[in-house]
C-alpha cells in the first residue's frame, strides 16, 4: 500500500475564513464555528475524493496491483477512449439524457399547465402524480423490470391485447429495445420533477397579465405564447440545465433494470464507471471515466449558458 499524506483541509479553495487581519471577533468566531462542520465534511469527503480521483485518473491504480501505483500520463484516458465499448456508451449516454429529458419536459410541462387552475381534490391528486419523484431509482428499475418481463410482463400483455404487437418482445434481453425500456422508466420517474418546478413558476404569474392580454383580444393560445412562456422561461432553462447534469449522473434505474446489459447495450457513462469500480476494480480507468463526465458537463454548461444567454438574465 502506498502511504498517503494526511488529509489537509486547508487545501480546499473555500475553507479558510478571513485571513489577513486575523482578529477574530466574537461574531467571526460564531460564524466559523457554525460553518465549520459543513465545510469540513464537504471538504474532506467530497472535494478531497474528487481531487484524488483526478490524480488517480493519471495513475496505474488497479486493486490487483496496489504495489505498483505510478503515474502513467494519459494512458487511462486512451484506454477508455479507444475501448471497443466506448462509442456505444457515449451514444447511449446521449440518448439517455436527450430522450429522457425531452419527454420529461414535454409531459411535465403539460401536466403543470393542466394543474394550474384549482380543482377539487388537487392536493390529493398532486400527492399521487408527484409520488414517483420520491421513489428510489433502484425500486423504480425493479418495478419496470418486472413490467417489461418478456413472458409475464404486463406491458407485453397490454401491447399484445391492444394489437400493437403480434408476439411478446423480450424488451430487456434485446439490445434493440433495452435502452428504450430503461428510458421509459426514467421518463416515468422524472415527469414529476419538471411538473413541480413548472407548476411553481406558473403559479407565480400574476393573474393581471392574463387579464391584460385578454383585454387586448388575445386568445388562449396567444396568451400562452405571449404571457405564459416568456414568464416561465428562466425557470425552465435553469431546470433543464440541472436535469441534464442530473440525468447523466443517474445510474440507479439502469443498474437495477439491466445493469448495462444485454452485452453492454444499455451502459451509460455512470453505470460504465460503476462497473469498472465494482467489477473491473480498475480505479485509474474508472476515475478517467469520471473526469471525462465532468469535462463533458463543463463544456456543455458553458455552451448552454452562452446559447441561452442565461448569465444576462441573472436568473442563475
Amino acid at each position: 500500500m502506498q502511504t498517503e499524506k494526511p488529509i489537509v483541509v486547508a487545501k480546499e479553495p473555500f475553507v479558510s475564513p478571513p485571513k489577513k487581519p486575523f482578529r477574530l471577533s466574537r461574531e467571526g468566531a460564531f460564524i466559523c464555528l457554525c460553518l465549520l462542520p459543513a465545510v469540513l465534511f464537504v471538504g474532506i469527503f467530497t472535494y478531497y475524493p474528487l481531487l484524488r480521483g483526478i490524480i488517480m485518473s493519471f495513475q496505474n491504480y488497479t486493486l490487483f496491483n496496489l504495489l505498483d501505483v505510478r503515474f502513467i500520463g494519459l494512458d487511462n484516458f486512451f484506454a477508455v477512449l479507444t475501448s471497443p465499448e466506448f462509442p456505444r456508451v457515449a451514444l447511449n449516454s446521449f440518448y439517455w439524457v436527450a430522450v429522457s429529458l425531452f419527454f420529461q419536459l414535454l409531459l411535465g410541462f403539460a401536466l403543470a399547465l393542466f394543474m394550474r387552475r384549482r380543482f377539487r381534490g388537487r392536493g390529493i391528486y398532486q400527492a399521487f402524480v408527484f409520488f414517483p419523484w420520491a421513489m428510489s431509482g433502484f425500486l423504480i428499475g425493479l418495478i419496470w423490470r418486472w413490467m417489461f418481463n418478456a413472458q409475464f410482463g404486463v406491458i407485453n400483455d397490454l401491447l399484445v391485447k391492444s394489437g400493437l404487437i403480434a408476439a411478446p418482445i423480450p424488451f430487456l434481453a434485446d439490445g434493440k429495445w433495452a435502452l428504450a425500456a430503461v428510458i421509459i422508466a426514467n421518463i416515468w420517474y422524472g415527469v414529476a420533477f419538471f411538473a413541480i418546478m413548472i407548476l411553481a413558476a406558473l403559479q407565480s404569474i400574476p393573474e393581471e397579465l392574463y387579464e391584460a392580454a385578454a383585454m387586448d383580444g388575445a386568445g388562449r393560445i396567444q396568451q400562452f405564447w405571449s404571457v405564459t412562456l416568456p414568464y416561465i422561461l428562466p425557470t425552465m432553462l435553469v431546470t433543464i440545465l440541472l436535469r441534464v447534469i442530473w440525468i447523466l449522473n443517474f445510474p440507479d434505474i439502469i443498474y437495477a433494470m439491466t445493469n448495462g446489459g444485454p452485452a453492454g447495450s444499455t451502459h451509460i457513462f455512470a453505470t460504465y464507471m460503476i462497473d469498472k469500480v465494482i467489477f473491473g476494480q480498475d480505479y485509474g480507468q474508472a476515475s478517467a471515466v469520471g473526469v471525462i463526465i465532468v469535462l463533458l458537463l463543463l463544456v456543455f454548461t458553458v455552451f448552454y449558458v452562452k446559447a441561452t444567454r442565461m448569465e444576462k438574465g441573472g436568473d442563475f
Binding site: 403539460a110 401536466l111 428510489s136 425493479l142 411553481a200 469500480v277 476515475s287
Partner: protein
C-alpha cells in the same frame, strides 16, 4: 376569470386522468403482484386482479432473508444521517442567511459545485478512504457519506428558510438579554419547525433510497440496508418476483407515508429557491 369551453374542460379531465393512470399503474402493478400466489404470478393469461389474495409473499421475504434486519439498518442509517444533516445545515444555513462575511460567496459556490458534480465520480478514492479508516461494512460509513452528500443542498435550503424570517425577531430577543445562540433556539427554531421537518424528511427519504454508495461500501449480511440486500437478490439467481414485489412494497411504504404527510410543504419548500433564482 375566463370561462372554460366545455371541450377544454373535457380535455382537461382526460389529460389529468391519463397522467394519474400513468403515475399510479406501476405502483398498482407491484402491489397486485405482491398479493398473488407464486403460481398465479407465473401463469398466463395475466390477471389484473388476483384470483386469490394472499400474504404469502410477505411471509416468504422474511423467511428467505433477514428482512427485518435490513429495515432496521436502513432506518438507523436514515435517522442518524438526516438528524446530523439537519443539525449541521441549520447552523450553516443560519450563518449564511444572517451574516455577510469574507468567504461567504466561496462557501456558497463550493456547495453549489457539489450539486453539479456527483459524488460517485470520486467513488474509487472514497472506497480507498473508507477502507483506510476501517469503516467499510459498517453503518457508520453510510451515515457519514449520506450526511456529506446532503449537507450542501440542505444548507442552501435552510438558509432560504432563515431568510424568510425577519431579523427583527431575534434582535428583539437579544435586546432582552438572550445570547445569539439562545435567541436562535428559543425564537427562530420554533417558527421554522415546519421547514426543519420538511428538510429532515427530505433527507430521510434520500438516505432511505440510496443505492450506489451502499452497494460499494457494504456486503456483510448484518449491516445491509434494504437496497443492498434486494440488489444481492436480483443479481444472484432467477428473481423471485413474488418476494421481490413484497419487499418493494414494504420498502416503499415509509417513503409513501412521509411523502403524503408533508408533500405539499416539501414541494413548496424545495421550489421556493429554484423559482426565485
Amino acid at each position: 376569470m375566463q370561462r372554460d369551453h366545455i371541450w377544454w374542460q373535457t380535455a382537461r379531465v382526460v389529460v389529468l386522468g391519463g397522467f394519474l393512470a400513468f403515475a399510479i399503474f406501476p405502483l398498482y402493478w407491484i402491489v397486485i403482484t405482491s398479493l398473488k400466489g407464486q403460481k398465479e404470478i407465473f401463469s398466463l393469461p395475466i390477471r389484473y386482479w388476483p384470483d386469490e389474495v394472499t400474504l404469502l409473499n410477505y411471509v416468504e421475504i422474511f423467511r428467505i432473508s433477514h428482512f427485518q434486519v435490513y429495515i432496521w439498518n436502513s432506518f438507523l442509517v436514515s435517522l442518524f444521517a438526516s438528524a446530523l444533516v439537519v443539525a449541521i445545515a441549520m447552523l450553516g444555513g443560519y450563518v449564511l442567511a444572517r451574516f455577510s462575511f469574507r468567504g461567504k460567496r466561496e462557501v456558497m459556490f463550493g456547495f453549489l459545485v457539489t450539486q453539479m458534480i456527483p459524488i460517485f465520480i470520486g467513488m474509487a478514492p472514497l472506497y480507498v478512504m473508507m477502507s483506510k479508516m476501517h469503516i467499510l461494512n459498517s453503518l457508520f460509513s453510510l451515515i457519514l457519506i449520506y450526511t456529506v452528500m446532503l449537507i450542501p443542498f440542505c444548507t442552501i435550503i435552510m438558509s432560504g428558510f432563515f431568510q424568510r424570517i425577519p431579523n427583527a425577531l431575534e434582535e428583539a430577543a437579544m435586546m432582552d438579554g438572550c445570547s445569539r445562540i439562545s435567541a436562535l433556539f428559543r425564537v427562530i427554531v420554533p417558527i421554522m419547525l415546519p421547514g426543519i421537518a420538511a428538510t429532515f424528511i427530505f433527507a430521510f427519504v434520500q438516505c432511505w433510497n440510496e443505492l450506489i454508495m451502499a452497494v460499494l461500501f457494504i456486503d456483510e449480511e448484518s449491516v445491509k440496508t434494504i437496497p443492498v440486500a434486494m440488489n444481492a437478490f436480483i443479481k444472484k439467481y432467477d428473481i423471485e418476483w413474488g418476494a421481490m414485489s413484497a419487499a418493494t412494497v414494504l420498502s416503499v411504504i415509509p417513503t409513501m407515508l412521509l411523502f403524503a404527510f408533508c408533500q405539499k410543504y416539501l414541494v413548496e419548500g424545495l421550489t421556493q429557491g429554484a423559482v426565485k433564482g
